[in-house]
């Protein structure tokens, strides 16, 4: 564990050997049906420990279903998903924290109590859970907003609290379902840069679903382009410079633009 991550404050749960070892995600021959409707058709994907894997695809292609399968909220019809050594849905659920599309902060809880939900669910006392979660508020630009209700926070702040809640859970794998889709373009760009810094300070294995190719190529190490339903992998790309400090420079770099063109072509191909 790098010193930076320790300083970041959420290192303890990760630094336990069980969590550090086996944070890789491995998907083999995955298929899924809802009744007669086939949503996923034979997907193989790998994400090494502490890497960020992006899933891009047209709307309704089964990206969210794939994420729920990874998180252990559902069982696949065929194939296998393993998070480290955990392959049963129950075990996946205990190794993966899930950040849904909307922030889903509970409006009756303060920001800090929302962030501390996982700790409270595990039986930690309220005061201790607040102290634990509160250590991260400064780092997340949320200083002084611990007691604020979600309704008093801006969209970007709510999203940061939601991500904090996911990190505080201390799970080796994090599944993000279009985390910034509800934000305006400027806030979204800021949040992408912020998430890049947060992930470098506190590495996790991340599976990120998005419909935004640029977002995927900026935040992820590898990006899988999925086809329209039933989803299969059309193309897999490596991002040229994942999570560099200056997002604006990164996304206008010729190499980045070239990879983005290839991703968009694959996306069009997959929609046919």
């Amino acid at each position: 564990m790098p010193a930076k991550a320790k300083e970041f404050g959420v290192a303890e749960p990760l630094s336990s050997p069980a969590a550090a070892a086996g944070a890789e995600v491995s998907i083999r021959g995955l298929a899924h049906h809802y009744g007669d409707l086939q949503t996923i058709d034979g997907i193989d994907l790998e994400a090494p420990s502490h890497s960020v894997l992006g899933l891009v695809g047209p709307s309704g292609c089964g990206k969210s279903t794939l994420l729920e399968l990874i998180a252990g909220l559902q069982e696949p019809t065929a194939g296998e998903i393993a998070l480290g050594a955990a392959s049963a849905a129950r075990d996946r659920l205990s190794r993966c924290a899930f950040m849904p599309q909307r922030d889903l902060l509970l409006p009756w809880l303060s920001a800090i109590d929302n962030a501390a939900l996982a700790l409270r669910n595990r039986g930690m006392r309220r005061g201790e859970a607040r102290r634990e979660a509160g250590r991260l508020f400064g780092r997340f630009g949320l200083d002084g907003f611990e007691r604020a209700r979600p309704a008093e926070l801006s969209g970007g702040m709510r999203q940061r609290v939601a991500f904090l809640r996911t990190l505080v859970a201390g799970k080796p794998v994090v599944a993000l379902d279009e985390p910034f889709a509800a934000l305006d373009a400027i806030t979204r760009a800021e949040m992408q840069q912020w998430l890049a810094a947060a992930l470098d300070a506190d590495p996790r294995t991340v599976v990120l679903v998005t419909h935004d190719v640029e977002e995927a190529l900026y935040l992820c190490d590898r990006v899988a382009v999925l086809s329209a339903r039933p989803a299969r992998v059309v193309d897999e790309l490596s991002a040229p410079a994942p999570r560099v400090a200056e997002r604006d420079d990164a996304v206008t770099d010729p190499e980045f633009v070239a990879v983005r063109e290839r991703a968009l072509r694959a996306l069009h191909e997959g929609m046919r």
Binding site: L93, L104, A118
Partner: protein, 250 residues
């Protein structure tokens, strides 16, 4: 300010118009009745103040029946709502019975309750409970069911047990709907108490209504109704206040 001013002005205008129409005899003429049967608001007020001890006594008797009935309705309604939310078997078993219980007219059921529970407070409380538990149970059930399924999934990945999801997500989310049901309950509760008293009672506003009616005491009759309405309004106000204290996130 406007929230109080406008209803107060409307009420004052209505009472004023009624005062004019009644004291001038115009209303009695119009209805073709002797003026004694069409009391003015001032006469109703006089009846109230002359016999204030009697009204207070009757109001207290009826209020006790209402509060006891509401307490039972609350316990049974919340328990039924919870059970139906948590178990499909309970939902399938209970919901037809609960709907049927509301289809039985109270006038029919009240005498039976008097036979079963005797002459005291219990048959009245039972009638109140019978009509009040339905909106409460329905409010609890629909409130619990309104929880966002995505929030439930999110909680599951944060290691929440079924009980923790119920306590931290579904129950707080159900509070506004619960309060809506409870507000309906407190407003219809006096109706239940009055029906209960009509079947057999020696005190309470319902009995006073029967008595004043038999004696053609129109002013007293109006006074009974005014006290009953004031009681329902006060209960509703208390509940609205409680809701504002509890549901602070809206």
């Amino acid at each position: 300010m406007r929230r109080w001013l406008l209803p107060t002005l409307l009420l004052a205008a209505l009472v004023g118009a009624w005062q004019l129409a009644a004291s001038s005899g115009a209303l009695a003429n119009l209805l073709d009745l002797p003026p004694i049967l069409v009391p003015s608001p001032i006469e109703v007020g006089e009846a109230l103040s002359e016999q204030r001890h009697l009204y207070a006594e009757n109001a207290w008797a009826t209020l006790r029946e209402i509060l006891l009935g509401l307490a039972i309705a609350l316990a049974v309604g919340v328990a039924a709502g919870l059970a139906m939310h948590l178990s499909k078997v309970a939902r399938d078993t209970l919901s037809p019975l609960i709907v049927a219980s509301q289809a039985v007219p109270i006038v029919v059921i009240a005498p039976i309750l008097v036979i079963w529970f005797g002459y005291g407070i219990w048959p009245k409380a039972a009638v109140v409970a019978l009509i009040c538990f339905f909106p409460i149970a329905l409010g609890v059930l629909s409130g619990l069911a309104s929880a966002d399924p995505a929030a439930t999934k999110m909680m599951r990945t944060l290691d929440a047990t079924r009980g923790q999801i119920l306590w931290r997500v579904e129950s707080p989310g159900a509070l506004p709907s619960f309060f809506t049901g409870a507000k309906i309950a407190v407003v219809i509760a006096p109706i239940g108490a009055v029906f209960g008293e009509w079947v057999g009672s020696n005190q309470g506003l319902g009995r006073a209504i029967i008595y004043d009616n038999a004696q053609l005491q129109a002013a007293g009759l109006f006074a009974d109704v005014v006290v009953l309405a004031a009681m329902a309004l006060a209960l509703y106000g208390l509940l609205a206040l409680a809701e504002r204290r509890v549901v602070t996130w809206r």
